[in-house]
């Protein structure tokens, strides 16, 4: 009789321990709600890989207008067709569907890649619980190459000049859409800390590039 009671107590203890373990697992899994984990190392200030960002003298001539059809960034393994993007009803820029995070898009109110001015290409860092087309965009550095195929059959080859991580609250001051002296490119995605309460990243990663060959 005593043995049975002891045995039952043992199983009860084991059950309690298992429940505690399950609670620990649950707490570990949901622990991020209270304190957002860092998705990417957040630098204190925007990082300028090439602070001067000057237009090199060997920049090539501009190309005529032609819609881009695809983008290729060998260093980070990013390859995607490009869908046209406009603006939303609230005048914010449209982005590709978050359900297809491997799809990149280009902003149609900006010059086409190769024309004089800042062509703009956007892609998700992640979405739909998977990595996005620009998940590794932050790894680009000055000198890396980005090629964009155009509808007229030409390919515009760009060279990265600098990479900035910009708080979203200060994005408009960054001058991403400002006029440029030559043909340039902006690659934009999200980055920095993921704010779980706002369901959003707090920064943008902006890659600046210039046309070097067409």
């Amino acid at each position: 009789m005593t043995t049975k009671i002891t045995s039952r107590r043992g199983y009860l203890i084991a059950l309690v321990v298992a429940l505690l373990a399950a609670l620990v697992v649950l707490a570990l899994t949901l622990g991020g709600e209270a304190e957002p984990p860092a998705a990417q190392p957040p630098p204190a200030q925007p990082v300028a890989v090439n602070p001067a960002g000057e237009q090199p003298a060997d920049a090539v001539a501009a190309l005529p207008k032609s819609d881009p059809v695809s983008i290729d960034i060998p260093k980070i393994g990013a390859h995607s067709s490009l869908v046209p993007l406009g603006v939303n009803a609230d005048d914010t820029i449209q982005v590709p569907p978050v359900t297809t995070p491997l799809q990149a898009g280009w902003y149609t109110y900006a010059p086409t890649p190769g024309e004089v001015g800042p062509a703009v290409v956007l892609g998700h860092v992640d979405g739909n619980h998977q990595k996005g087309i620009f998940y590794r965009l932050k790894e680009l550095a000055a000198g890396d190459r980005v090629s964009i195929a155009r509808a007229d059959g030409t390919t515009a080859l760009f060279e990265v000049t600098k990479v900035h991580q910009v708080p979203k609250q200060e994005f408009e001051k960054e001058g991403v859409y400002d006029d440029t002296a030559g043909p340039e490119l902006r690659l934009i995605t999200c980055g920095g800390v993921f704010d779980r309460s706002a369901h959003n990243y707090v920064d943008n990663i902006v890659v600046y590039a210039r046309l070097v060959r067409s």
């Binding site: 199983y11 373990a21 697992v25 001539a61 979405g127 990595k131 440029t180 943008n204």
Partner: protein
């Protein structure tokens, strides 16, 4: 005898002078005179400014013996109305061509049969650096910042180590529970 001498003198004079008269009458249209057989002066061409974007107006000054022909892929040149001597002025406009260096060619064609002379002067077409005529290059500047991230949290690799740690925790705690249970059973 006197008459014979006069006729002989006239004949001799004719023989001496006739070839000279014949030559003088043909010289303007045929062979060059001894003074014009000299090599034509070297042609001169200056362009100011020496570079410009498409549409820029430039001035060309030409020094040329005879007719001047200015040709270039990069510059349309038009001679001014009143040339002064062998020096002429041209007004040129930079054509809509790709940036780069192009030759501007001057050919001088003397009208007296001497050979043409040439000179090439480089002209640099600059990259267009001005803003588009319509104004801003980005015709509609979006408000705010792009929302290019998922709303469910980062899809990075940190989830895997967390799950592994959690699984190890479960195993450890479960093992401890079993040990405790066995000990309790033995009692």
């Amino acid at each position: 005898m006197k008459n014979t001498a006069v006729v002989a003198g006239i004949a001799a004079a004719f023989l001496v002078l006739a070839p000279g008269v014949a030559l003088a009458s043909t010289s303007p249209s045929a062979s060059p005179t001894p003074g014009t057989t000299a090599k034509p002066a070297a042609p001169k061409l200056t362009i100011a400014p020496g570079h410009g974007v498409p549409g820029t107006e430039v001035r060309l000054t030409v020094g040329c013996e005879g007719e001047a022909y200015v040709t270039s892929r990069a510059v349309d040149a038009f001679a001014d109305a009143d040339p002064k001597g062998s020096v002429r002025a041209y007004t040129g406009v930079v054509r809509d061509v790709r940036a780069g260096e192009y030759p501007v060619n001057l050919r001088c064609h003397p009208r007296d049969g001497r050979p043409d002379t040439f000179v090439d002067v480089p002209f640099v077409v600059d990259r267009v650096t001005t803003k588009s005529p319509a104004g801003k290059q980005v015709t509609k500047v979006p408000a705010g910042a792009p929302q290019t991230g998922g709303t469910d949290g980062p899809a990075d690799d940190s989830g895997a180590p967390l799950a592994a740690a959690a699984a190890m925790g479960v195993l450890a705690l479960g093992g401890s529970g079993l040990v405790l249970a066995r000990r309790a059973r033995r009692r």
